[in-house]
C-alpha cells in the first residue's frame, strides 16, 4: 500500500481549529481520506478545485480541506455548484451532500442537476438518518425502523438513490460503502474524471444514531454489516428474486456519454448567436 500520510499536511487546513465536528466512529473521515487520495493521484491543483456542501454532518466537510470551499444552504449545494461551473468551466467542481440534504430537501435540485448534465462530481453521503439534528428518519431510512421522528416505525419506503439518478439522466452512477475503501477510491477517481454530472452514493455509518436504532452498537459492527450486505453489481444477475432485499449493490451502475451543459452552451453560442 502506498504511503499517503504526508497528504494530511498537504490537503488539510493547518489554520483550521481541530478537532473536527464528527462523532467518534463516524464514517465521513474514511470518505475524506479516499477523496484526498483520489484528488492527489489525479494531480489536480488545489486552486482549481471547488468543494461545495449542503447542511448536516457532511456539510461540515469542506471547512477542513484546503480547496476553494463553500458551505451552502440545506439541500441547495448543487444550485451553487451549477453557478460556479457555468461562470468558470475551468474549475473542478465537487459537491458533497447527505441523504436528507440531497434526497429530501434537495431532491428537486438533484434530479434537475442530473438531467441538465452540468459537470459536477457529486457525492451523496448516505447514513440513512438525520444525524446532526438527532436521529430522525430520512428518505433513505429503511421501512419500519423506529427513529426519533418515527417512534412507532417508519411508514415510508426508502429511495434507491442510484436508480433515481439513473432515471434522471446522470451519466455516471456508482455506489460504494466506506468499508470498501479501494472501490470507493476508484469510484471517486472515475467520478472526478467524468465529463458530466457524476453521482456516487457513499454508504457510511452513523454510529450515534442509525447504528443504535438498527441495533448495531459499534463502528466495527456497522462496517461488518456493510461488508456482509454488499453485493457487487456484476453479481446481481446471479441472485434469485427477493435475495436483494436489504442488500447494498455496489460498483458502477451507469457510465454513459452525453454532452455537458456548458459544452452545449458554448456550441449554441458559436453556431447560433450573432455577436
Amino acid at each position: 500500500m502506498k504511503e499517503t500520510g504526508h497528504l494530511i499536511h498537504k490537503y488539510l487546513r493547518s489554520s483550521k481549529r481541530f478537532p473536527h465536528i464528527w462523532c467518534p466512529g463516524c464514517g465521513i473521515g474514511i470518505f475524506v481520506g479516499a477523496l484526498i487520495r483520489a484528488i492527489d493521484e489525479l494531480g489536480y491543483s488545489k486552486d482549481d478545485i471547488v468543494l461545495v456542501s449542503g447542511i448536516g454532518c457532511s456539510g461540515r466537510l469542506p471547512v477542513y480541506v484546503d480547496f476553494n470551499t463553500l458551505h451552502t444552504t440545506h439541500g441547495r449545494a448543487l444550485t451553487f455548484a451549477t453557478g460556479i461551473k457555468l461562470a468558470n468551466p475551468r474549475l473542478k467542481v465537487i459537491t458533497v451532500m447527505g441523504d436528507g440534504d440531497a434526497i429530501a430537501i434537495g431532491g428537486n435540485h438533484l434530479i434537475h442537476a442530473a438531467r441538465r448534465n452540468v459537470e459536477i462530481a457529486t457525492f451523496i453521503l448516505n447514513n440513512h438518518i438525520y444525524g446532526m439534528t438527532g436521529g430522525q428518519c430520512s428518505p433513505t431510512t429503511p421501512s419500519g425502523l423506529r427513529t426519533n421522528s418515527s417512534p412507532y416505525g417508519n411508514l415510508e419506503p426508502p429511495f434507491d438513490i442510484c436508480r433515481l439518478m439513473e432515471a434522471a439522466g446522470a451519466v455516471f452512477v456508482g455506489r460504494s460503502t466506506v468499508y470498501h475503501t479501494r472501490l470507493l477510491e476508484q469510484l471517486i477517481a472515475k467520478a472526478l474524471q467524468k465529463k458530466g454530472f457524476a453521482i456516487t452514493e457513499v454508504i457510511f455509518q452513523c454510529v450515534t444514531y442509525s447504528g443504535r436504532l438498527l441495533g448495531l452498537d459499534s463502528p466495527v459492527e456497522m462496517m461488518k454489516w456493510q461488508k456482509e450486505n454488499a453485493i457487487p453489481v456484476g453479481k446481481v444477475g446471479e441472485l434469485e428474486k427477493g435475495e436483494l432485499e436489504g442488500k447494498i449493490v455496489i460498483g458502477v451502475m451507469v457510465d454513459r456519454e452525453a454532452p455537458t451543459y456548458h459544452e452545449e452552451y458554448e456550441r449554441i453560442v458559436r453556431e447560433r448567436v450573432k455577436i
Binding site: P62, V63, H71, T72, T73, I84, V273
Partner: protein
C-alpha cells in the same frame, strides 16, 4: 421631463433593466418564469450569450439565487429577477448572500399579494419583505425606480452598490414601472460609472477572507484565483471558519451592518419637487410618485403649498433626509399601494414632529392623481 432627442428609444421597464444590468457588467443570470418579471429573463436569454455571459433557467427561484451566488463567487457579476411568490422563495439565499457577503442583484417586480395574490395587478406590498424577508438581523440595500429610465439607472447602481459593499442589493419595482414603455435616452458607456468588488493586494498566504481592512468590506478574489478560502452561511471568524465564540459572532454582525450604515450619507438618493415652502410634503416611491407629482402640480395651481419627495433608496431608510422633511412640514402624506408599510417607518422617525397622513390602496389599481389631489385638499390646514 427629459428632453426628446434623436437618440431616444422606446423601452419597456423590464427591457431597460436588462440594458442597465449589461452596462454594469452583469455576466450571469439565473431565472424562473414569473409574471410580471419574465421579460427580464427572456431578454437576458437573448442578450447574455452575445455579451459573453451565461444565462440559465433553473428549476425554481431558490435554485436561481443559489446559482447566482455560486457564479458571483466564481467572479461573475450576477443577477436574478422575480416577483412576489418567487421573491418569497429567494429569501433563504438572500440571507446567505448577506452572511457570506456575496455581491448579487435581485429584481423584485411587485405584484399584489399575499400568496399567489392578484396576478398580475400592481402593488407595493413587498416593502417590508424586502427589508426583513430573510431570517435574522441583516443589512440590506433596496432601490425603488419610478420610471423606465430610473429602472435602467438604478439597476446599474444596484450592481455598483452590491460590488462596493459585498451585499445583495434588491431593485424593488412595481408592475407599472416594469411594464410601462417610455422614451429613454440610453446613456453612453463612458457616462456610466461601473464599480468592481475590492480585490486583495496581498499574496494568498497573507489573505484574511473576512477581516476588516478598515472599510468594513473585505477584499473578495474569485474562486480559482489562488486564494483558497472558506465561505459559509454559519457565523464565522475572520478566516471564514465556523465559530460560536461571542467575541467573534457579534463583531461579524456589527461589521455587516456598519459597512453600509457608515456610508448612509452616500445613500440619500431622492428627488424633491416644490419642497422649499411646502406645508404638506408627499413622500412617495415607485409609480405612486408619478401620480403624486401630477397631484402636487395641480394642487399648486389651486394655491396649496405642497411638495413631493420621491425616494430612490427605500432601505436603508433615509432617516436624515426624511427627518428634515418632517421638521419643515406641517403634514406629511405617505401614499402607498399597500396597507401602510413605508409609512410605518416614516411615523417611527417622525416622533411627533408633524402629522403623518397615509393614503392606502390595495384593490389592485393605481392611486390616481385625482385621489391624491382630493386627499391633499382634505388635509390642507
Amino acid at each position: 421631463m427629459r428632453k426628446v432627442t434623436q437618440k431616444q428609444v422606446l423601452l419597456q421597464g423590464n427591457e431597460a433593466c436588462v440594458k442597465g444590468a449589461l452596462m454594469a457588467g452583469c455576466r450571469f443570470f439565473a431565472g424562473y418564469p414569473i409574471t410580471p418579471a419574465t421579460e427580464i429573463m427572456e431578454i437576458m436569454a437573448w442578450e447574455l450569450p452575445k455579451a459573453g455571459g451565461v444565462f440559465i433557467q433553473m428549476e425554481d427561484e431558490i435554485a436561481s439565487l443559489g446559482a447566482v451566488i455560486g457564479a458571483s463567487l466564481a467572479g461573475a457579476k450576477s443577477m436574478a429577477a422575480t416577483s412576489g411568490p418567487g421573491f418569497s422563495l429567494m429569501q433563504e439565499h438572500i440571507g446567505f448572500a448577506c452572511m457570506a457577503e456575496v455581491p448579487c442583484v435581485i429584481v423584485d417586480v411587485m405584484r399584489a399579494g399575499p400568496s399567489t395574490g392578484l396576478p398580475t395587478q400592481p402593488s407595493q406590498g413587498d416593502v417590508m419583505q424586502s427589508r426583513w424577508g430573510t431570517h435574522g438581523d441583516h443589512p440590506i440595500i433596496v432601490l425603488a425606480p419610478s420610471s423606465v429610465y430610473e429602472f435602467l439607472e438604478l439597476t446599474v447602481q444596484a450592481f455598483n452598490l452590491s460590488e462596493r459593499y459585498r451585499s445583495p442589493v434588491i431593485v424593488l419595482v412595481d408592475e407599472v414601472v416594469a411594464h410601462m414603455r417610455e422614451g429613454v435616452v440610453i446613456p453612453a458607456k463612458r457616462d456610466i460609472a461601473v464599480e468592481e468588488r475590492p480585490q486583495p493586494t496581498v499574496p494568498p498566504e497573507w489573505y484574511i477572507p473576512y477581516g476588516d481592512p478598515g472599510t468594513g468590506v473585505p477584499p473578495m478574489p474569485p474562486f480559482g484565483a489562488g486564494y483558497r478560502y472558506h465561505v459559509t452561511g454559519l457565523h464565522h471568524d475572520v478566516r471564514g471558519y465556523p465559530t460560536t465564540r461571542k467575541d467573534e459572532v457579534e463583531p461579524l454582525i456589527r461589521r455587516l451592518f456598519s459597512k453600509i450604515s457608515k456610508d448612509l450619507d452616500r445613500l440619500q438618493w431622492f428627488d424633491s419637487f416644490y419642497t422649499e415652502d411646502a406645508v404638506i410634503t408627499v413622500i412617495a416611491y415607485g409609480c405612486v410618485s408619478r401620480a403624486a407629482l401630477r397631484a402636487v402640480k395641480e394642487a399648486r395651481k389651486k394655491g396649496l403649498k405642497v411638495g413631493l419627495i420621491k425616494l430612490k433608496v427605500i432601505w436603508p431608510f433615509m432617516r436624515r433626509t426624511i427627518t428634515k422633511v418632517l421638521e419643515n412640514s406641517q403634514k406629511v402624506l405617505v401614499p402607498e399601494m399597500n396597507i401602510g408599510q413605508l409609512s410605518r417607518e416614516v411615523k417611527r422617525v417622525n416622533q411627533g414632529r408633524c402629522e403623518v397622513v397615509t393614503l392606502n390602496k390595495v384593490d389592485g389599481t393605481l392611486i390616481t392623481p385625482q385621489e391624491l389631489l382630493q386627499k391633499l385638499e382634505e388635509i390642507n390646514p
